[in-house]
């Protein structure tokens, strides 16, 4: 059932040591994907942020305190060890699916019945339910992109790796007759990041930068022990950062867990 042996596997390598938590990726994502804004967004467990930037710290007292940021898009899990993508396998209405060609986990909000089972299944909290009707007061609807349909209340939405950009790149490649290049398909957050902390591409393609970057000895993924086989890698030279990416028993050494697809 695991489909990590897809033709392409689009994914990211996020350099935590470059991320400064400025939030440009989050906002670029929202603007690209018409994410709604409520008058009050301080209740973070009801606030839709496809790409949420988590702030973590090393818990050390002054003056040894350090913070770092984990930008967290949907991890586009493949699932391993006989498991499918955690959310895809549970959706009763096939409103979310993993495209075996690209490795992208899609979301069809217009098919979603709002049961939220996928929200419960995702350990990364990458899935968001529309608890509210989004008010679009005068003018706020003007900058909405026509390429992504705004969602209605009562459905789940999440990061799609800007799939509409993939489709656009595909169309371009089809009309021009040339193969789709690495730069033809980039997500909005990748483009926006002022520090270049996010690199996006086909993890399976040796010509793409991510293919090399993910092999860094400092590369890791979130919650590898769960064998979700995510498509988002992180890089940090700091051990305490790497340690925060997974659960460890006290006294347990930080080990590189090899998950699933064996990338």
């Amino acid at each position: 059932m695991s489909s990590s042996a897809s033709e392409m596997r689009f994914g990211m390598v996020i350099d935590v040591d470059k991320c400064t938590g400025c939030g440009a990726c989050s906002v670029a994502c929202m603007s690209e994907n018409n994410v709604g804004v409520l008058p009050d967004e301080t209740d973070k467990i009801r606030s839709i942020t496809w790409l949420r930037v988590y702030q973590i710290d090393n818990g050390q007292p002054y003056p040894n305190t350090q913070i770092a940021f984990f930008p967290r898009p949907c991890q586009h899990c493949a699932g391993s060890q006989g498991h499918h993508t955690p959310c895809v396998s549970v959706c009763p209405a096939t409103a979310t699916d993993r495209d075996p060609k690209t490795g992208i986990v899609s979301q069809i909000p217009t098919r979603c019945i709002g049961c939220r089972y996928c929200v419960a299944a995702c350990p990364y909290h990458a899935r968001y339910f529309n608890w509210y009707d989004v008010p679009w007061p005068e003018g706020m609807d003007k900058p909405l992109s026509p390429f992504v349909a705004p969602r209605m209340r009562g459905v789940v939405e999440k990061c799609t790796f800007c799939f509409h950009r993939y489709q656009r790149a595909q169309n371009k490649a089809f009309t021009s007759g040339e193969a789709m290049g690495e730069m033809d398909y980039q997500t909005a957050c990748t483009e926006a990041c002022p520090s270049g902390a996010i690199t996006f591409g086909d993890l399976n393609n040796p010509e793409h930068k991510v293919h090399e970057l993910k092999k860094s000895p400092y590369a890791f993924r979130l919650l590898e022990r769960l064998h979700t086989d995510t498509a988002v890698y992180y890089v940090s030279a700091r051990e305490w950062v790497r340690r925060q990416a997974d659960n460890y028993l006290s006294g347990e050494k930080l080990a590189k867990v090899q998950a699933g697809g064996g990338h």
Partner: protein
């Protein structure tokens, strides 16, 4: 107003005014539920305290609990019609009604719980057959159809309705082939109870809920079936006993109750052995392999008291009680034991739903707690009110308890 000609033959019922007051109380509860339902449907699920961390809330807990408790219907039916335990005929009608209430109540709740109720049928239309929830949807719907088919003849047996020949014969004929429905229902409900458990077990990225298993079924699949059939007969019987207490009548012989208790207790024992084995493996093998220790799971307010409440007070204790013949002979301790059994299964459904979601998986995430809003309580209370209404009406007007006339001879 005299409704006595609708009462089952040879029985007496309380005064219409008393019954009317009781109905008013139930309708008040239902009114609360209607207001809540309106708010949730009109304004959306922001009326609840559910959120992206507690994607499921008290509704799912109540859903799972009543469906587990409603398992008395299929299991009693199975024992009665398929295993031919004829003595259970005296309680099967009550079991079917309770099952019908639980299942239809659950579906109504789910209709409000999903964000897009008018798309609820997409689960059939675009079914993802790999999802446990799809299995749940299919089974719960089909089983409800079965329950309706099982409930219909009972309604038709109302003294006045039964006078109509068409309906009389139809009811009779449905009864004749009831084994077909009972068997189908057993099959469906078996999978349905199981897939509800499977829903949690397959969440392999949620360490608290995840379980290993066989083929596509995680252990929770089987544990849910077992706990449901262990608690279901207890629930059916305790409802009958409560009805007896309220009406001041004997409705079934104590022997029937004792049989139900024995079945319930034995299944509970079987369940507990497996559940405890599962829990030990989960706590000491599976959890450390995920880099966690069970202490991470049990944080305020969801502390280890939950474990004690579920498996101790709601598990081992009723199991011992139900399996001791002396206890079974005592009306009140038997009732207590059965209620504890129901409490245990409810706690299990609570823990599997709420605590699974409360436990943070990402190390830098927080541990959240969840408290339902009055709207959520309203809907939950509505299901109870719905149950009260249906069961009260059924008891008043339908020949639910075949032994009633003999156990309560009337003077007329």
């Amino acid at each position: 107003m005299d409704d006595s000609k609708f009462w089952p033959k040879g029985t007496t019922r309380c005064k219409p005014v008393h019954f009317g007051l009781w109905m008013l109380f139930c309708l008040a509860l239902a009114g609360w539920a209607l207001v809540s339902a309106f708010l949730c449907l009109y304004k959306g699920l922001n009326q609840t305290n559910m959120n992206d961390y507690f994607a499921f809330g008290v509704w799912i807990v109540v859903d799972l609990a009543i469906i587990a408790l409603g398992a008395g219907a299929f299991f009693t039916g199975f024992m009665n019609y398929v295993l031919r335990r004829e003595e259970l005929k005296n309680i099967i009608n009550a079991a079917v009604i309770i099952g019908f209430i639980c299942y239809s109540g659950a579906i109504m709740m789910l209709g409000i719980d999903i964000g897009q109720p008018i798309r609820g049928w997409f689960g059939f239309w675009h079914a993802n057959v790999h999802s446990m929830l799809t299995e749940v949807m299919f089974c719960i719907t089909t089983y409800l159809i079965v329950l309706i088919v099982e409930f219909v003849p009972l309604i038709l047996e109302n003294r006045q309705i039964n006078k109509v020949p068409d309906l009389h014969f139809f009811a009779h004929n449905l009864h004749t082939i009831m084994i077909v429905f009972a068997a189908t229902g057993t099959f469906l409900s078996f999978f349905h109870q199981g897939s509800l458990g499977g829903m949690y077990g397959v969440l392999y990225a949620r360490p608290f809920a995840a379980r290993g298993g066989v083929l596509i079924w995680p252990w929770t699949f089987f544990l849910f079936i077992l706990s449901a059939i262990a608690a279901g007969p207890s629930f059916t019987t305790s409802i009958v006993m409560i009805t007896e207490i309220v009406t001041g009548k004997k409705l079934t012989t104590h022997k029937v109750k004792m049989l139900m208790a024995k079945v319930s207790g034995s299944l509970l024992l079987f369940y507990l052995v497996l559940k405890i084995a599962d829990t030990l493996y989960w706590a000491f093998v599976q959890t450390p392999a995920m880099g966690l220790s069970p202490s991470v799971y049990y944080q305020a307010p969801y502390g280890t008291w939950l474990l004690i409440a579920e498996l101790g007070i709601g598990g081992v204790l009723p199991c011992i009680l139900l399996l001791s013949p002396q206890v079974r002979e005592s009306y009140w301790i038997l009732l207590l034991a059965m209620l504890l059994n129901c409490f245990g299964v409810t706690m299990n459904r609570f823990v599997m739903t709420i605590q699974s979601l409360a436990v943070p998986v990402l190390p830098f995430e927080k541990f959240y707690a969840y408290l339902p809003t009055w709207q959520e309580w309203g809907i939950s209370a509505g299901v109870i009110a719905y149950g009260f209404i249906i069961f009260s009406l059924a008891y008043r007007y339908l020949p639910v308890f075949p032994q009633e006339t003999k156990l309560n001879p009337t003077t007329d």
